[in-house]
């Protein structure tokens, strides 16, 4: 599923779909909240730094585990110092723990690719264990 991110309404739409996807995969309800938070933070970055971009969602499966991948892609200016951008308290959030560093903490697998002048792609994978939860 691909969502163009150009305004706040697009963020709401992507969040709702992620929640639905989590439910369809039988993930616990807190998974929906985690995914929504990831999408909110990544989309906020897209709107702030690149003005527009996209969010892609995919379901994941590995053995008994189920998960969801969130990919945030933009063609903005890119991040000149990725290490610094991942540091707590960097950027606009003004408080430690939010933004990219927060997303990284919520993720089981976090990847960021950024090329100055060519844009940024963040890939986040979150996994949940075992038996599908009924929520």
């Amino acid at each position: 599923m691909t969502f163009a991110i150009e305004n706040d309404l697009d963020i709401v739409r992507a969040r709702a779909s992620a929640r639905e996807l989590a439910r369809d995969l039988g993930l616990p309800r807190s998974a929906g909240a985690v995914l929504a938070a990831v999408i909110s933070e990544l989309s906020r970055n897209i709107l702030l730094y690149a003005r527009h971009g996209e969010i892609v969602l995919a379901g994941l499966e590995r053995g008994r585990r189920r998960g969801i991948a969130v990919v945030a892609r933009d063609h903005g200016d890119g991040i000149s110092d990725v290490t610094n951008a991942l540091r707590d308290g960097y950027s606009t959030s003004g408080r430690p723990g939010l933004g990219l560093s927060g997303v990284r903490r919520l993720a089981d697998d976090f990847r960021i690719q950024s090329l100055e002048g060519a844009g940024t792609t963040v890939t986040v994978k979150t996994w949940w264990d075992g038996e599908p939860a009924r929520a």
Binding site: R13, V34, R62, R95
Partner: protein, 316 residues
Amino acid sequence: MESRRVRDLAETLAAALDRHVLTGDESSLTQAYDAGRRAMREGWTLLELGQCVWRAARDLVRPPDVEPALAEERLENVLLECFSPYEMFLRGPREASDALRRLEERREADARRVAQALHDETGQLLAAVHLAIGQLKAHVDPVGETYRGRAEQGLRQAEEEIRRLSHELRPPVLDDLGLVPALHVLARRAGQRAGLAVTVSCAGGDRLPAEVENALYRVAQEALTNTVRHAGASRCSIEVERRPADVACRIFDDGRGFDLETHGAGRDGLGLLGMRERVHSLDGTLEISSRPGAGTEIRVSIPLEVQHVYASPARG
């Protein structure tokens, strides 16, 4: 904390709560998330936020035409939303198997580094010694030549041994070409060294994730070492099969086998424990069957990540 800003935030939260319980819409959840985010930025403690949310929930206007169970579910959604910025901040590293996996990664990186240094640095030194011994040839009498010849032969053996050790530590072919070519090299070397016929077969090509390739290679290496040391086998086979959701590997020999009761579960004389741990850290399974006189078979399966891409909903 009864400043105007605080009241403002509390009102936003209460409004989002009322609306979400009534309609179940996503934008009021987004508002709840943003409120939690703002609370965190403005330095509210988790207790203050919790108090504020509790008050909103207590004063919630319970709409008569929403089923109580549904209203509760929606209330829970709002709670999760406004707390999730805090979760983002507080969450520590996930699960222990993750740590185990990272440890394996580091171990492989170390092995790679040592193997490389062993190969490169001793290689250069030995090459210089080779040269010097070669040059000696013109300057010694026949008796000296006998000793020179012996020294040269010993040097060659030392080189071969270092190459073997370096390769055993971490074969470069595993990084460069992947699991199956690395297994072929492993099989050929074991065959040459121990006079064992080792065959490798593979179904469904493609590289696997590095941690899966590493794990399967190490299991095969350990199994082959066991076969050479203890089994007295004449043939051994390694089969790798990549399936849609996992990769399976079967290693079996026609050797004398062993009693699982005495060598199995608890003891680690055969490195079985290490193999098992490694496979488990990747959510995989490892089974061994062996009986005295009936060979040994090891079956490993490691799940692979499968992605499901769904169509996007129509844009409304």
